[in-house]
Amino acid sequence: MRKNFTLFTFMIILLFYCHANRNVLYAQNTIKVSGVLSDSTNGEILPFGTVFIPELNRGITTDTRGIFLFTGIPAGKTITIIFSYVGYITKRIVFEKPEGDRTSLKIKLSPLPVDVSEIVVEGERLKKNNAPVISLEKITAKQLASLPKIVESDVLQYLKFSAGVQSTGDASARYYVRGGANNQNVVLINDATVYNPYHAMGIFSAVDPEIVSSMEFYKGAYPTEYSGRLSSILNITTKDGNKVKMGGQAAVNLLSVKGLIEGPMSGGSYMISGRKSISPQIVKKFLNDKDYPFDFYDFSFKVNYANKEMFRDAKFTIHGFFSKDNLENNNPLKPDFMWANNILGINYFQLNGSLFYNVSVNYSRFDGKITPNLTLSKESENVVDDVTARIDLRYVQESKNELDIGLKIQGVKSRLITKNAAGLLLDSHRKGTGLSFYIKYLILYYEFMGIDIGSRINLTRMTGGGASGTLEPRAIITWRLSPEVAVKAASGIFRQDFVSVSDENEVIPLFEPWLITPTYLNPSSSIHYSAGIETEFIKDVFINVDGYYKTSKDIAIINEKKILPTDHDLVNGKSEAYGMEVVFRTNQDDFNINSAYSLSWATNEVYGVKYTPRFYSKHNFNIAVDYDLGGGWKASMAWIYTSGTPFTQTKGFYNRLTTNATFSDNLILQNYSQIAMLGDRNAAFLPDYHRLDLTISKQVNIDFVKLFIDLSIINVYNRKNIFYFDRKTGERVNMLPFLPTFTVKAEI
């Protein structure tokens, strides 16, 4: 490992050094232009906005903080910078022969008027950048709100519209990415891990969409700065809060009531949001009219402070996220459930010349509990305490190339208290520290090509057992063949040393405890290969085709053959997944179409037996259209189709000897129970799933109050999509029926 690491570091330094010569050449006659793109009405930053300099034919996008940085701009030459963002009026700024070392801008874009349905945006065809990015979806708050609403917009339900993402149905926001299990995904909120990002058994996301500023969703081959999961990263950045004036929102729908207040403060802004469930009735619709009296809340806040006097171009942030779900049956013959997230974090960011600093410390705690009451459920409790500190440095060279270095220290304590089949209390208490850093070099110098090459270096294993020093090398390349076409490829190694004990055979898992991978198992690892092509032959019509191949080994899987107390709870398994994804997107002024198709194959292997995982569906297609009708009216529709997920058929019955007493009597005189004999595991497929949803929205301005009214119809043609088939009763349990819902939101 040491040899590989030395070699790798040497290579990165060599790359950095080679391009440093170009920097010297550039630095003599160039300046830097940096800035923040934000909304003029509330100061909220605009992530993923486009910034373009036509004279240099250079374009970049703002990051999740709305920040952009151009280096290597020739001094003394007049340039124009164009800022554009969907739904906002494009802005041009002309620099007459800029001088000096660096110019810092604060660009505020004005939203398009509500009653404008046809607008003309400045017609430059922005040059496509050469950023080496693949399998990434950048999702803004506006996009999140554009889909038809299942009761309300939902952060995780939105992901189901991404190519390569699969789910097991309406009653779960759990998602599965490119053949990986749900516990191979991580949801980050402002870089802090949310261990259970669900409300109501996983039907809804615990993150209120109203607090979301942007989301970055990596479906694989993600860059070096991210770690800890085999399949995907969802990084949610919350809103900063209104920097212009104090404001607020209040909304009510069939599920919850919620409110948000935000406003400016000395040197910064704040945002406080809360949501509380008001009725479990809507949840019954998701669960075949069964009565589950869920009660939940979530609460979040963010405070930003940026004092120019103290630090130039810096921002200090404190954020928190708290959620809790209770399922209290008030019936001693039914068990009660509880789970909660408590997250608190601080973040310091500064742009100093060409150097980005980001320092963060986050604390995330997860609590889950089952109280069995008078049932045979096992009394169980899971507590995870996670303190993660990280430092990320990004140095942008004059040549546009970047050097990224980061350090991550993650201290985790996991405790699982449960009872085994014998009723004995098991207290599994583990703690560990993961220490890793990464180094990568981003080559953006060549206009036709971008390369991101780097590696994570894991210095410790969280459990302390097994190989402690490991590399996770990763590389991404983008090659722009023409302004309209780019090809991309990526590969990387990814590791995971933290697992949730989830049983894929459970239709609705209520208790998924998280554990540091036990020492008797190797940490899971995965290799991703991705390649794709993106095109824009017609203006504003994007087509992206990606292919991927992913193998994973040492996946921690529940030991279904655990019978004796001495048997391990988890065993290592393997998986293989490959497929192709096509994304079609067109963003017109008042009309957007997003469509995705994926063709995939996935297999798991455990005990030497291969099978398709429960969440697998070969074909996934969806199309979402939203249309601005003008006058404050909007309409949207979404249609989803997935081929059926696998299940295990019954192939007959047999009489099984019941040995609940002793063998002491004559064997054949004892009782026999009737057992279903199962066919090959997951060898058959449920019927296909499809559903059409519609939403019509109206925005009304009454004095200073904006009123948003949404009427939605879920499953317009009342498709009877099967949820699962009860083997014992023969009952077919269906998912959501035809369901009208509404949301009313007031904003000041």
Binding site: K334, P335, T371, P372, N373, L374, L376, S377, K378, A421, A422, E506, V507, I508, L510, K561, I563, L564, T566, F591, I623, V625, Y627, M637, F647, T648, Q649, T650, K651, G652, F653, Y654, N655, L657, T658, T659, A661, T662, F663, S664, L667, I668, Y672, Q674, I675, A676, L678, G679, A684, P687, D688, L692, Y717, R719, I722, R727, K728, T729, G730, R732
Partner: protein
């Protein structure tokens, strides 16, 4: 134009009107077989049972009323690769004829004595030529001894403050120092009723009572060499004997009997798999199952049992209103 496209998309999507699906919860039925044979090392009389699988209309297996027991099989046991023993077919009267009317069909063997560490194989050749096969190794039954700490009187005379009952045992022989063995401990109250004192009843004593739910927790297969039965569980078993009957004095408690099953790995696994459970919200699709029979289902194993009689103090029995038997 754009409105037209929007309408077309809505309408074209809506043509997927709900319709019947081709769902096949069952795969075509093929007959399979289950063999049950758990040898008892304490006797030379052994039994085996073979049944065939069946299908029913719908999903309720109880609607099948045809006895699935299989006749005409040739079942043989081979011990340590040499001696071969043949089972013979026999029947016995069925006590419960609510489902199956015909006598119970099974196989028996009268002259098989199992010794410590014997390697035993079983073949069952069915009439259709199919062969079910398995093997196991007998545990060292002769080396199992109860420890002196094992209770033979309750409550303890020497330590009356110790209200729980503990049983301990050991396997002699240095060669077994680290080897894992499997046991199933069970404690039963032996009692009779005044109206028919000759008939003995047995009541299983739970291992413990759940502090949170109050539910009883029974013993299960373990590799520990101790077993505890907690005071609350013993009291519960005493109470349940006469639950609903005000005439407590009609109950005559004779003693308690501790039985320790010494199991091979396969019968231990089979017993343990039968006692797993899930909570009601965990709607699990597939139930766990266990078999060590090649080409079929069921179990082939070996066990022995050892018993300890536990006398119970008259004062304790009387505290429930019961009487002490002889």
């Amino acid at each position: 134009m754009r409105k037209t496209i929007f309408v077309i998309l809505v309408v074209s999507s809506a043509i997927f009107i709900s319709c019947d699906d081709n769902l096949s919860p069952k795969t075509p039925f093929t007959e399979q077989y289950a063999l049950y044979c758990v040898l008892n090392t304490d006797t030379t009389y052994q039994t085996a049972y073979i049944s065939k699988s069946y299908d029913v209309e719908g999903f309720d297996p109880l609607t099948n009323t045809t006895d699935p027991a299989l006749e005409g099989a040739d079942i043989r046991i081979r011990v340590n690769g040499q001696a071969v023993y043949n089972f013979t077919e026999t029947t016995t009267a069925r006590t419960d004829t609510s489902r199956y009317k015909t006598p119970v069909k099974y196989y028996e063997l009268n002259n098989l004595k199992i010794n410590d560490n014997d390697r035993i194989e079983i073949w069952a050749s069915l009439r259709n030529g199919k062969i079910l096969w398995s093997y196991t190794q007998a545990p060292p039954n002769s080396l199992l001894y109860f420890e002196t700490a094992t209770r033979e009187y309750f409550p303890s005379v020497t330590a009356p403050q110790t209200l729980d009952i503990k049983f301990g045992w050991t396997i002699l022989g240095s060669q077994y120092g680290d080897k894992v063995f499997y046991f199933y401990p069970q404690l039963e109250l032996v009692y009779s009723k005044a109206d028919n004192p000759g008939k003995l009843y047995r009541k299983i004593v739970p291992k413990m009572i759940s502090a949170s739910s109050g539910s009883v927790i029974n013993p299960t297969v373990t590799s520990n060499k101790t077993a505890y039965f907690y005071y609350e569980a013993i009291v519960k078993a005493f109470e349940v004997i006469s639950e609903g009957d005000p005439q407590k004095s009609n109950y005559i408690i004779h003693n308690a009997e501790f039985t320790l099953l010494f199991l091979d790995r396969y019968s231990a696994s089979y017993m343990a798999s039968a006692s797993t459970f899930r909570d009601e919200f965990s709607m699990r699709i597939d139930a766990p199952d266990y078999t060590n029979i090649q080409n079929g289902y069921g179990v082939f194993g070996v066990y022995s049992n050892k018993k300890v009689k536990v006398n119970i103090a008259r004062t304790f029995i009387n505290s429930f209103g019961y009487r002490l038997g002889q």
